[in-house]
């Protein structure tokens, strides 16, 4: 970061950073604003996963500009975290939704049908 002129890499970093921040903020806002747990899970899982992916790509681009930084080490960690987030967030939300439905968490009053409830023994 010694030079003050803006390069293409800086622009790409800012683009991914702002995209990721937008989706992170939409996820956090959806957690507060949406009416019931299942809607909130929809906001928290999908948009936050996309947002953290953008932030990770931006961090990989920005950190690779450090002098003497190993690009392989940065890319390995970033790709690992992205893959793990893409696996872990849906699995965690699925487990939470199933546990909440088992213990009788009521859906929103405007919900049209609950097929999982009908299939319950």
């Amino acid at each position: 970061m010694t030079s003050t002129n803006t390069t293409f890499l800086d622009l790409a970093t800012v683009f991914f950073l702002l995209t990721g921040l937008f989706f992170m903020f939409v996820g956090a806002l959806g957690i507060v604003r949406l009416p019931d747990l299942y809607h909130r899970m929809h906001a928290a899982t999908k948009s936050v996963t996309l947002g953290i992916t953008g932030l990770l790509i931006a961090a990989a681009l920005a950190l690779s500009l450090i002098e003497g930084a190993s690009h392989t080490a940065i890319a390995t960690r970033v790709v690992l975290v992205i893959l793990f987030q893409f696996i872990a967030n849906p699995v965690g939300a699925h487990l939470l939704a199933k546990a909440a439905h088992q213990t009788g968490c009521q859906p929103w009053s405007g919900t049209l049908s609950d097929d999982f409830d009908k299939d319950r023994p």
């Binding site: 970061m1 010694t2 003050t4 803006t6 800086d10 622009l11 970093t13 800012v14 950073l17 702002l18 990721g20 921040l21 992170m24 903020f25 996820g27 956090a28 806002l29 957690i31 507060v32 747990l37 909130r40 899970m41 928290a44 936050v48 947002g51 953290i52 932030l55 990770l56 931006a58 961090a59 920005a62 950190l63 450090i66 930084a69 080490a73 940065i74 960690r77 970033v78 690992l80 975290v81 793990f84 987030q85 872990a88 967030n89 699995v91 965690g92 939300a93 487990l95 939470l96 939704a97 199933k98 546990a99 909440a100 088992q102 213990t103 968490c105």
Partner: protein, 118 residues
């Protein structure tokens, strides 16, 4: 520039006056507001799964915050911490979901389990 490389005293270095520096500062603000929203829902949420979901989102916001601090202070070691944080938040979510589904499985032995209870 020495302050930016040292990674501790970053205020007032030339990094904050670049384009990426402004974006990172904005990002710190946005993520802090998002963490406050998650914290509010963590305290308020009616069902226990609401709180677990808010805690999971809070942990992901924390990952983003550590990433931005890593960009700002130019320290690469934080990436390992991010890996550990994401693993721990997933483990916490799974444990919370197990606890919500069967709250007595941890404290009390199950009556229908075979061979374990006398």
């Amino acid at each position: 520039m020495n302050t930016a490389i040292a990674g501790l005293t970053v205020l007032g270095s030339t990094f904050t006056r670049s384009l990426v520096g402004y974006a990172v500062d904005l990002g710190l603000l946005v993520l802090a507001v998002g963490m406050l929203l998650c914290l509010y829902h963590l305290l308020k949420g009616p069902h226990m799964a609401d709180r677990a979901l808010a805690a999971d989102t809070l942990a992901i916001h924390l990952i983003g915050l550590v990433l931005l601090v890593s960009i700002r202070s130019q320290v690469l070691v934080f990436l390992d911490g991010i890996l550990v944080l994401s693993l721990l938040s997933f483990a916490g979510t799974v444990a919370a979901a197990q606890y919500i589904a069967r709250p007595h499985a941890i404290t009390k032995p199950q009556p229908d389990s075979e061979g374990l209870t006398p």
